[in-house]
């Protein structure tokens, strides 16, 4: 959106300019600057090569999880934000990716091969659950995709138990390149690079014929059909791509956590992924980064640091409530209140607010 707002008289003069992702120098500096900061994080911890303790070691793990979940939410963004289809089964698709990658690795396949195969397999599973999208939309489609959230964990726990360990965690073999075990900083950079690649692919998908078809279906599927777009085929493609992204995220989650269990991929996780997208701003390419970043930093950084303070303070402020209940419900209550406040203040998502901010900056001093 903001990329199209430029000072009067500035036009694209070549196709390369027209197709570039970062349309202005400001965007370019911002993108590379952000990437540079992200790459710098492990180096600034106490275990980094400089031995400085500027960034807490725990932040490395948080950024790793943001990178992984960002891929799953980006898949959801393509399906929900750009194509207008609803899915409540994204965590279940992640489970398919996580388990297929792990099982293949346990059979001796290298992670680098198991990961894309797992993602493609998840894409095929996504196609199956996308079939109802031909007949139903909106709330009814959400209910249809919800089936994935029940069927897939059941399959993992029962008929596939000899392969998946059933309800018990399935250990993930260590990932190596030759003799080198990928752990610590190497794991961090691997996750960041794969996540970055996924983001670039997603952004480019939107700029292709398929991406424009997705947007046309979202805006008005009848009109899209009249324009000659095969709505069903494109809806299925959107489900496939969404599931491939989920499978990729699932495989990376297995790689990072080194153990997978069906409990990691429950309905609550699917709803959280959808919430992250809404917070980020569905239908905007930066939404996954902002939504996942906001939720994880809130949950893993802000709330844990606020909780001890509030645990001391609130029982004195609210003596009529049992202090046991206060301390136990503090974290979910804080999380819930923040999300509600956020949705009241900025219902169109963080990415939308960011775009407004960038436009205001470009048009200064005439931001009105």
């Amino acid at each position: 959106m903001s990329a199209n707002i430029r000072p009067s008289g500035v036009f694209d003069t070549t196709y390369v300019q027209d197709m570039t992702i970062n349309r202005t120098r400001f965007d370019l500096i911002l993108s590379w600057g952000f990437l540079f900061v992200v790459l710098l994080i492990p180096l600034l911890t106490r275990e980094g090569p400089f031995g400085v303790d500027i960034v807490p070691l725990g932040a490395v793990g948080t950024v790793e999880r943001i990178a992984i979940l960002m891929i799953a939410v980006q898949g959801l963004n393509l399906l929900v934000g750009y194509t207008g289809q609803v899915s409540l089964g994204q965590a279940a698709f992640m489970a398919v990716g996580a388990y297929s990658t792990t099982v293949l690795m346990r059979q001796g396949m290298t992670f680098w091969l198991a990961l894309p195969i797992g993602a493609l397999l998840t894409g095929l599973v996504g196609l199956i659950f996308g079939l109802p999208s031909l007949r139903v939309k909106g709330f009814y489609l959400a209910m249809a995709t919800l089936a994935a959230q029940f069927i897939i964990p059941w399959l993992l726990r029962n008929p596939l138990a000899p392969l998946t360990n059933g309800s018990n965690p399935l250990p993930v073999p260590r990932t190596t390149i030759g003799e080198f075990v990928i752990t610590g900083a190497a794991q961090y950079y691997t996750l960041i690079l794969i996540s970055l690649a996924a983001m670039i692919i997603a952004r480019n998908i939107i700029r292709t014929r398929a991406g424009r078809a997705f947007v046309a279906i979202r805006d008005n599927d009848l009109a899209a059909e009249l324009l000659g777009i095969n709505v069903f085929a494109y809806k299925l493609r959107a489900f496939f791509v969404c599931a491939v992204f989920a499978g990729l995220a699932g495989g990376l989650l297995a790689f990072e956590s080194r153990s997978v269990t069906p409990d990691q991929f429950d309905l609550q996780s699917s709803i959280e992924l959808l919430a992250m997208l809404i917070i980020g701003g569905a239908g905007i390419s930066q939404a996954p980064l902002l939504g996942v970043g906001f939720v994880l930093i809130l949950r893993e950084g802000a709330i844990p640091s606020l909780t001890p303070l509030l645990n001391d303070f609130l029982p004195r402020l609210l003596p009529f409530i049992d202090s046991v209940n206060i301390s136990a419900s503090l974290a979910p209550a804080l999380f819930g209140i923040t999300i509600i406040l956020f949705l009241i203040i900025e219902p169109r998502g963080l990415a939308y607010r960011w775009e407004i901010f960038k436009i205001s900056w470009k048009l200064r001093p005439f931001s009105y």
């Binding site: 106490r46 303790d53 807490p56 070691l57 725990g58 490395v60 793990g61 948080t62 999880r65 726990r157 360990n165 059933g166 309800s167 018990n168 965690p169 250990p171 956590s257 080194r258 153990s259 269990t261 409990d263 990691q264 429950d266 609550q268 996780s269 994880l296 949950r299 893993e300 844990p304 909780t307 049992d322 202090s323 046991v324 209940n325 301390s327 136990a328 419900s329 503090l330 974290a331 979910p332």
Partner: protein, 460 residues
């Protein structure tokens, strides 16, 4: 004269020696509770105690008082000098029962500075999920759960860095089978043979009980196990599962659930009119006030709550038993104005865990010195650790590669009755309720069978 003086001094020396020998060696922190003598003074230090788990998810009804237990125990023990003068600081987080949250909290804790010397967990799934990672990070875990995989690995042959405060769920089930076989016609006054249907939560915790080894062991005791049914912690009806098991001949439902899970089964047994025909029993967590309180929502035809009479394993001393340790906990509970609803296993376990932590750190510091205090050294202490926490409320013996508790009793959930035999009704926060009590059915603790894969008591 000299002989008299010498005799007098000899008698004084002997008496002094005898008195000293009769006194417990170490520091007495309360009547019956003794910690080892400190060889080093740690005054000025702060030693963190790390714990995380579900405080707001499906485990919440049982775990919420845990925070209160920790808080009151820290207040008390820090007031008594902490760990050789060092103050203990609680670092607690809520995972909400979400495994992803558990992983992220663990990651934060394991990279904290200073690194945790010990981590307290209370979910089987967390122990299984983190088993390899805690070993790599050299962080020993004190676990209030009994997962064989978490403690001994996938093949049950590698004791790891996790030490449990209760018996394995498989072994609890075996102990129950053994007891029920002997008590079926005598104490329980039932006819026919005991037949168990296993009805538990889906997940690592619920699935940790029913194995080929436990089924074979129970069969060898004369107790048939007709299979298992599993339901999600969010389920609100289990009548179909109960009917399935009863139609297979089950006259006992054994459950590896807690709080709302056990209360749900008791409610549906009453709804189906099977409360007299089918006995309800379960792992140690079914014997908790949370079950007794939640069970009051449904009454049996007798007018008593649906959970009245639930049987379970009792590997520790309960609040209602006369014991210096429970007396101390009760005293602190009252002094801190805790509500009666918090008087459950979580509060007791929280208190016991802090007491155990203090002894563990003292022994480690005495062995290696305060400057060498690490998780790896704490593990070395744990490998030879025998301790009666709170003076014997909890008994731990983790020597010889054992990672769990090997003794238990059988107990029963009931409700406090007055002198006239009628249930006592109290009012808490404007609500009338009965007071759950837990009493041992067998007075002596007996060893639990070893039913790990390849365990000593598994029938060949």
């Amino acid at each position: 004269m000299r002989v008299r003086i010498f005799t007098f001094l000899l008698v004084v020396a002997l008496v002094t020696g005898l008195v000293t020998a009769a006194l417990p060696s170490g520091m007495v922190v309360a009547q019956g509770i003794t910690h080892s003598e400190c060889k080093e003074d740690l005054t000025g230090m702060t030693i963190p105690f790390y714990t995380f788990g579900d405080l707001s998810g499906p485990y919440a009804p049982i775990t919420q008082p845990l925070a209160a237990g920790f808080s009151d125990a820290l207040k008390y023990f820090n007031g008594m000098g902490g760990i050789c003068g060092a103050q203990i600081e609680l670092v607690q987080e809520d995972s909400g029962g979400d495994r992803e949250q558990s992983l992220s909290i663990y990651q934060r804790f394991s990279t904290a500075d200073p690194k945790p010397l010990l981590l307290l967990l209370y979910a089987s799934a967390d122990s299984e999920l983190l088993r390899e990672r805690v070993a790599e990070d050299e962080i020993p875990v004190f676990l209030f759960a009994g997962s064989t995989i978490g403690l001994y690995g996938e093949k049950a042959d590698t004791p790891g860095w996790i030490y449990a405060g209760i018996p394995l769920y498989t072994d609890q089930f075996g102990a129950f089978c053994k007891w029920v076989a002997s008590a079926w016609t005598t104490d329980l006054k039932r006819e026919g043979a005991p037949v168990i249907g296993h009805l538990s939560w889906e997940g690592s915790f619920g699935r940790a009980t029913e194995t080929t080894e436990t089924t074979a062991y129970c069969k060898a005791q004369g107790v048939e196990v007709v299979g298992g049914e599993y339901f999600l912690p969010t389920a609100t009806d289990v009548t179909a599962q109960i009917n399935n098991l009863v139609s297979k001949g089950a006259n006992i439902l054994y459950t590896t659930t807690l709080a709302s899970g056990t209360a749900l089964i008791a409610k549906d047994l009453t709804t189906l009119g099977l409360e007299e025909q089918v006995l309800l029993a379960g792992a140690n967590w079914v014997l908790d006030s949370s079950v007794g309180l939640l069970g009051q929502r449904t009454l049996k035809p007798s007018g008593m709550p649906s959970t009245d009479g639930v049987l379970g394993l009792l590997p520790y001393t309960w609040w209602d038993e006369k014991h210096p340790g429970t007396a101390l906990v009760q005293e602190q509970f009252t002094a801190n104005n805790r509500p009666p609803t918090a008087r459950g296993i979580a509060y007791l376990a929280g208190f016991g865990a802090i007491d155990t932590y203090i002894e563990l750190i003292i022994q480690t510091v005495n062995r290696v010195g305060k400057d060498n205090l690490t998780g790896a050294e704490v593990k070395k202490t744990l490998d030879g650790f025998k301790y009666e926490a709170l003076g014997g409320v909890f008994s731990y013996d983790w020597t010889n590669g054992v990672r769990d508790v090997r003794m238990t009793r059988i107990g029963q959930l009931g409700y406090l009755r007055g002198a006239d035999g009628a249930p006592v009704i109290v009012e808490v926060g404007g609500q009338k309720m009965l007071v759950p009590v837990i009493a041992p059915v067998t007075t002596e603790s007996v060893p639990v069978p070893d039913l790990k894969p390849g365990g000593a008591d598994v029938p060949k």
